[in-house]
Each structure stands twice: as structure tokens, then as C-alpha cells.
């Protein structure tokens, strides 16, 4: 391989990473006192934890070339379901388990529609997006559930963490939400990269007909994958509800687009343009850092949205252009 080819290959895989480093340098220079500090990064990690959980589990379906539009409204629904059980004075654990079960059932519905009935993921999950969202409004009566209805055990979880020292004489916690997100990351990484199940999902994404003829139970695996994505969305909804100590039927709005964006950003880093959960982690980090840095620089939130959208398009464009040149 020539030096030039090596360089272009390296650039293709690392372009997004280099861009990210430039962003970090820029923020470090412009926000010198706070940006590159441990508390700020722990804060970022906590802020993106809901998105991270959603995006990691979204990667599972995107590996097969599918996607799930309903994750945001599933996150809303799961928060509401848990809060309703809390209001009923049920133990925290019951509310959490029922909310996660709702995620599995929602994912099962998506999986049945996509793999057994054969509706395209776009239409199927667009439909369930609306259904889950409507259900969240119906169950909550359109109101936010908050205050004494939310037990302190539940909302305390998001404020807690593992003490890791002090910074400027303030106790520093490694946030529980970040820990949950990291655990989900490790699980998804093991599932996708270290199990036969994950390999088969990649095979489906590579060539669905070849996978089927090569002995992969395509329909069943797709069903399971959608259930995992639903479970992840429900977990993200619980994290959010815990963090804001309330449940709101629109709390998951925006989660879906950001999650898909994070997976796309991660895809730009793989040679063959396949989703990878490590890439997704980087995508989530990029989105979180941009949000954090721009907020600290007091950039208007609408400008922030425009910038983030442009960056996603830019990263994916440059990656697909260099692949075409290849």
C-alpha cells in the first residue's frame, strides 16, 4: 500500500476523531477555566447518559440496517408507567421493573411488525412512536407527575454517585447515571462484538438474503434486537425521570434523532461504514461536548441546533465522499 493510500485510509477512519479533537482544543482555549476540568467532564457524562443508553441500544438494530423511531416516545412512556406505580405507593423496584417490561413489550411490538408482518422499520416504528406517545399522554392525563408522587429513593439515584475525591474543596462524585450508561455500553459491546448473536446481526446487516440462506434465523433475531432497543429506551426514560424527579409525557422528545445522529457519527469511523458501539460512544460524546461547550460560550440554543446538524452532515458527507474516492 502506498503512503498516500495509507494516509487517506487513516484520514477516512479518523476524520471524525480529528474534528472532535479540534473542537476540544477550541473549547479549551475559549473556556479556559472550566471546560477541561474533571467536574465538567463528569457533568457532561451525566448529561448524555440518557442519550448514551438510547444510542447504544439503537446501535443494535442499526447493525442490521434497521432503525427504531419510537425510542423517544418509549422513554416518555416508561417514565410515566413507573411514576404511576410510584403514585400508587408501590415499591420503587416494582415501578422500575414494570417500566422496563413496557420497553420490552414495545420492542416486541416493533419487532413483530418489522420482522413477522414485514412492514418497513420506518413505517412500523413511526406508527408505534405515535402509539407510545399517545399512551403516555393517556396514562398521565397529559400532566407531569412530580413532587411527593416520586419517591426520594428513585430521584435520589440520579443525584448520587461514588465519591472519588474533592475538587476545589467540593466533594466529587462519579455519577450513578454515568455508571449505568457505562454498564449498558459494556453489555452492548459484549453482545455485538463478542457473541454469536451479534455476529449474526452484522451478517443480516451485510446481506440479509445471504444471512438467511447461510442459516441465520433472521426474523427471530430481528425481533430480539428490537426488544433490546425498546428495553434500552425504557431504561433511558427511567434515568431521565430520576434525574428530573418527575415524569412527563414529552420527556423523551428529541432523544430519537440525537441517538440516530450519534450512531451515524460513529459509523463514519469504521472502514466499511458499519455501526459500532464504540463509534456510537464517540458520537454521543461529541454531541455532549458540543452541547456543553456551546452552552458555556453562551451560544444561543437555536444556533447550537443548527451547528450540531451541520456537523453531523459534514462528518457523514466527508466520510462517504472519501469512501467513494476509494
Amino acid at each position: 500500500m502506498t503512503v498516500q493510500a495509507r494516509l487517506s485510509r487513516w484520514l477516512r477512519r479518523s476524520g471524525t476523531l480529528i474534528g472532535f479533537l479540534i473542537v476540544i482544543v477550541y473549547f479549551t482555549l475559549n473556556i479556559p477555566n472550566t471546560f477541561l476540568t474533571l467536574p465538567n467532564w463528569l457533568n457532561i457524562s451525566q448529561q448524555v447518559s440518557m442519550l448514551a443508553v438510547t444510542a447504544f441500544t439503537m446501535t443494535i438494530v442499526m447493525v442490521m440496517g434497521d432503525f427504531d423511531l419510537s425510542v423517544g416516545s418509549m422513554a416518555s412512556l416508561s417514565g410515566i408507567v413507573a411514576a404511576l406505580f410510584f403514585r400508587d405507593s408501590q415499591p420503587v423496584l416494582v415501578g422500575v421493573i414494570v417500566a422496563l417490561a413496557a420497553g420490552l413489550v414495545g420492542g416486541l411490538l416493533n419487532g413483530l411488525l418489522v420482522s413477522y408482518i414485514g412492514i418497513t422499520p420506518f413505517v412500523a416504528t413511526l406508527g408505534t412512536l405515535t402509539i407510545f406517545s399517545g399512551a403516555a399522554f393517556l396514562l398521565s392525563g397529559g400532566k407531569t407527575i412530580f413532587g411527593r408522587d416520586i419517591p426520594a429513593d428513585f430521584s435520589g439515584f440520579a443525584r448520587g454517585g461514588i465519591p472519588i475525591g474533592t475538587f476545589n474543596e467540593r466533594a466529587l462524585l462519579f455519577p450513578n447515571l454515568t455508571i449505568v450508561a457505562l454498564i449498558v455500553f459494556v453489555i452492548v459491546w459484549v453482545v455485538l462484538e463478542q457473541t454469536a448473536f451479534g455476529r449474526r446481526l452484522y451478517a443480516i446487516g451485510g446481506n440479509v438474503e445471504a444471512a438467511r440462506l447461510g442459516g441465520v434465523r433472521v426474523r427471530f433475531l430481528r425481533l430480539i434486537a428490537f426488544m433490546l432497543t425498546g428495553l434500552g429506551a425504557a431504561l433511558a426514560g427511567l434515568l431521565y425521570a430520576s434525574r428530573v424527579a418527575s415524569a412527563n409525557p414529552t420527556q423523551g422528545a428529541g432523544l430519537m434523532l440525537d441517538a440516530i445522529a450519534a450512531v451515524f457519527l460513529g459509523m463514519t469511523m469504521s472502514e466499511e461504514g458499519e455501526p459500532h458501539v464504540v463509534g456510537t460512544l464517540l458520537g454521543v460524546t461529541i454531541l455532549g461536548v458540543l452541547d456543553n461547550g456551546l452552552t458555556q460560550m453562551r451560544v444561543d440554543s437555536y444556533v447550537r441546533e443548527v451547528l450540531i446538524g451541520a456537523i453531523i452532515i459534514g462528518a457523514v458527507t466527508s466520510s462517504s465522499l472519501s469512501r467513494r474516492g476509494h
Partner: protein
């Protein structure tokens, strides 16, 4: 005429401007012409009726007929629907078709009717433009007897008008019914052009197959075993039926038939890719439940599909991923966690035994040549030492050297006691490798013959509906 793969379709694609030839000289009415794209062909007066039903299924019959022409307009930009439908009715009537309403969606029509519409669309604007040559590639493949008769009537009218017709078919009797001269192709070359008068079906079959055995085939390594491995007592799907055969350990059974005769479908039914209507199959004397591909691989079937890119390989994945896919269960720890070391060891061992030329098992499959991609599929099939090996066109698009490697591989499988089904459109390949040959005709099993002593001529005769 010509066998599958003789070059008929390529010739038509060159005329249609779809395929760019290395060298070409086409003369039309004694003037040299150039055809670079389909538009050129249209302007020169060439009209094509392709074998595939390439209709736009969302559109109506009338829209499909006029799809390549400007629609009649009203007020400059609105489509004049009544006129479009009237024109379409008239076009259909020219072919004696009165039972098709041009307003209905074409998807609702039977395949035969769709083909008639497609044929009709080739005659649109024939009066005003200079259409003079009609090229038809197996137009009757989907037509019933009545519809065929109607088409032949139209063809004779075209002849009377002074148009020329180039007619490609697999059906012997049609050539004698409507053609004046016949050109036989073989291996991409014209063998002979002769008048139909004084030619017999036997002559044509001799011309189509009359080559010497250019390819040498490796000899059998071990005798056929006694045990019946696969006993297909009855097998039918919506597409094929009447399948019944037994296969012994190490035996190679060829599957022969013309395009569309159902050879691939037979193999797909056995691997569980098609839903079976009747399924009475024994493997090693045990009755099999109807299979899915996943269960078929587990039961000991292995399959090399016809289209290696579309049906066989995940091109973006490594060679190792492609080889181990059906065997992951066995190669993983506890059937769950990947064991990459075991995968690498097993896949590099089978890669060597199929003589795969690659930089290693971690190479991306897309980067391999066609022959080596095919060997990846053989390596996949070889990994578990299959009981039954299903091979669909295993040497298609493979160069001569790799072909011989693949033949040797098939012999190796056979020596290890696998029962092998080999579907191929290369008759000499079938005769060179197989012990017996199952002939498919019109999607049914038509004959089951010993290969010894059979000539390509005999075999092709069997593939055609018994010629007069």
C-alpha cells in the same frame, strides 16, 4: 438459439446499447451505425421485448405502454387521460387484445397479460417512427397457448409490413413455427446461420452442443457408497413439483434444465428457502421435518447458492465471518460467546483445503476475485463435512483455472461421503462430473438418467420438450 450461456442475451444487450462491446461493427441497411445507449437503438428503429417483466407496477396499463413516450397533453401541461386511455386501447386492439382495461393498475394483471402489455408497448408509435427491427428475448416464457398464438399473429403481420424480427427462444417448436432462418450460438460465437427449410430439430441440437470436451474433469476418487443418504419421496412447492429421487453417499446427481425449468427452485426447496407444499424427505433413513435454512444447515445440508453476491456472501465482512456464519453455534464458547481463535483456526484450515488465494482470513471478501469468492462459499460448506451438498451453478463467472479447482473440490466432497446435488447450465460439466442427471422441464422432474454413455446432445434433447 443456443444453450444457456451461449451469448444470446449479451448479443441483445449490445444491440440495445446496454452493454458496450470491445469491438463492434453494426450495419443497418448497408450503412454502418453506432449504438452507444438505448436511445440510439430506439432512434435507429430497434424495438426490444425483454424476457424479464420490467413493468412499472405502480402505474396503469396505459401508462406502462406509453412510459417511454410523451403523454398526450391538454392545455400544455395537463395529461390528457381520456386520450391516453383511448390510444392504449387502440394499441392493444392492434394485437387483438380486448380483455385488458388500460386504466387498471398493471400489477393486477396475470404475468401473461403483463407480458402482452409489454409487447404492445414495443409497437407504440410504430407507424410514425421508423421502427423496423423487433428483437424479442423469450417473449413467450410467461404466455399461455392462446396468448402465444396472438403474439405469433402479430409477428406475421409485422413480417407482412416488411419489418424484421430477431427472435430468441428456448422453445424448439416456435422456431419451426415462425422463423425463416436460424442462427445457432455457442460459447459466445455464432456456429451457423441456415434457413429453417431443410433443418430438423436434431440438427439444431447438434449445432448447439457439438463441441469437443474442452475441459477435462477430475476422475472420481472413491466409489459410490451403498447407503442411501437422501431419499426424496415427494417434494413440491408452489413453483415446482413431482420431485422424487434417491441419493447415495458420495453420489453426484446433476440437475439439468433450461432457464426457468426449476433447477434452482429444487435446490432452494431442499435448503428450506422455499415453502414446500409436500415435503416427504428422509436423511439417513430419518424423516425430516420441513426445514428452514437454519435447520437445514444444522441437519447436515450445505448450500452454495446461484448468485454468490446477492445470495451467498456478506461482501463487507471478513472471509472468516463468511465462512463461519452457519457454524457459529459450534465454534462459540457455550454456543454464545465468540471464540475468534477457534474461528481463525478452522477457517484458515478450510481456506487452505479449498486453495483460497487471499492475504488471510481477515481480508474483506469484497476484495477477492469471483473465483475466490466462490471458494469462500465452498469453504463454508466444507467446514462441517456436510451430509448433503447443494451446488447451484458453482462455476458461473469463474475462470478456467479456478473451475478445475472447484471440480476437484466437488470430487473431494464426494470422496468424503457427501451426497451432492449439482445444478448447472453447462451440460458438459454435468456429464463430466455427475453419476446420474435429473432433468427438469417446465418446473417438473421430467427424467432421471444415468450419465454414463450420455452425450450432451442426448441431454439437451431431454431438456427440450420432446422434439418432433
Amino acid at each position: 438459439m443456443g444453450e444457456n450461456g451461449a451469448g444470446k442475451s449479451t448479443l441483445i444487450k449490445i444491440l440495445a446499447g446496454v452493454v458496450t462491446p470491445d469491438h463492434v461493427e453494426i450495419r443497418l441497411q448497408d450503412r454502418p451505425v453506432n449504438i452507444h445507449n438505448p436511445q440510439d437503438a430506439f432512434t435507429l428503429g430497434l424495438r426490444f421485448i425483454h424476457q424479464e417483466l420490467n413493468v412499472v407496477s405502480q402505474l396503469s396499463v396505459a401508462e406502462n405502454i406509453f412510459v417511454s413516450l410523451p403523454y398526450p397533453r391538454r392545455a400544455g401541461f395537463l395529461v390528457d387521460w381520456p386520450r391516453l386511455h383511448a390510444d392504449a386501447t387502440q394499441v392493444l386492439a392492434q394485437l387483438g387484445i380486448h380483455h385488458i382495461d388500460p386504466r387498471q393498475p398493471i400489477a393486477r394483471l396475470s404475468p401473461g397479460d403483463q407480458m402482452l402489455v409489454k409487447i404492445a408497448s414495443a409497437f407504440v408509435g410504430a407507424d410514425q417512427s421508423n421502427a423496423s427491427i423487433y428483437v424479442m428475448d423469450e417473449p413467450t416464457a410467461a404466455l399461455t397457448g392462446d396468448e402465444t398464438a396472438r403474439l405469433f399473429h402479430v409477428i406475421s403481420e409485422l413480417k407482412a409490413k416488411g419489418c424484421a424480427v430477431l427472435y430468441v427462444t428456448h422453445r424448439m417448436e416456435e422456431v419451426f413455427q415462425i422463423c425463416d432462418t436460424v442462427t445457432v450460438m455457442r460459447d459466445g460465437r455464432v456456429v451457423e446461420t441456415r434457413p429453417i427449410q431443410g433443418t430438423t430439430p436434431n440438427d439444431l441440437i447438434r449445432l448447439m452442443t457439438g463441441r469437443q470436451l474442452e475441459q477435462t474433469y477430475p476422475a472420481r476418487l472413491a466409489p459410490i457408497g451403498q447407503a442411501v443418504v437422501l431419499d426424496v419421496r415427494d417434494l413440491s412447492t408452489r413453483r415446482i413439483g413431482g420431485i422424487r429421487f434417491q441419493l447415495r453417499a458420495g453420489e453426484i446427481l446433476g440437475v439439468a434444465g433450461l432457464t426457468g425449468a426449476g433447477c434452482s427452485e429444487l435446490l432452494r426447496a431442499l435448503i428450506g428457502a422455499e415453502r414446500c407444499l409436500t415435503y416427504d424427505v428422509l436423511l439417513d433413513d430419518h424423516l425430516l421435518p420441513p426445514l428452514s435454512p437454519a435447520r437445514a444447515w444444522e441437519a447436515g445440508f450445505a448450500y452454495v447458492p446461484e448468485e454468490r453476491r446477492a445470495q451467498g456472501l456478506m461482501l463487507s465482512r471478513t472471509i472468516r465471518d463468511n465462512i463461519t456464519l452457519p457454524h457459529l453455534q459450534r465454534l462459540s464458547r457455550g454456543g454464545v460467546f465468540l471464540n475468534r481463535a477457534a474461528e481463525r483456526g478452522a477457517s484458515s484450515a478450510v481456506s487452505q483445503s479449498v486453495q483460497l488465494r487471499a492475504t488471510g482470513t481477515e481480508q474483506i471478501t469484497r476484495q477477492l476475485s469471483g473465483g475466490n469468492q466462490q471458494k469462500v462459499l465452498f469453504a463454508r460448506a466444507m467446514m462441517q463435512t456436510p451430509r448433503v451438498l447443494l451446488l447451484d451453478e458453482p462455476t458461473r463467472g469463474v475462470d478456467v483455472g479456478a473451475k478445475f479447482d472447484i471440480y476437484s473440490l466437488i470430487r473431494n466432497f464426494s470422496a468424503r461421503g457427501a451426497a451432492i446435488l449439482l445444478a448447472s447450465s453447462d451440460l458438459n460439466e454435468l456429464l463430466g462430473l455427475c453419476d446420474r442427471i435429473l432433468v427438469m422441464r417446465k418446473r417438473r422432474q421430467a427424467a432421471l438418467v444415468e450419465a454414463a454413455g450420455l452425450s450432451a446432445h442426448d441431454l439437451l434433447t431431454l431438456c427440450y420438450e420432446a422434439p418432433a
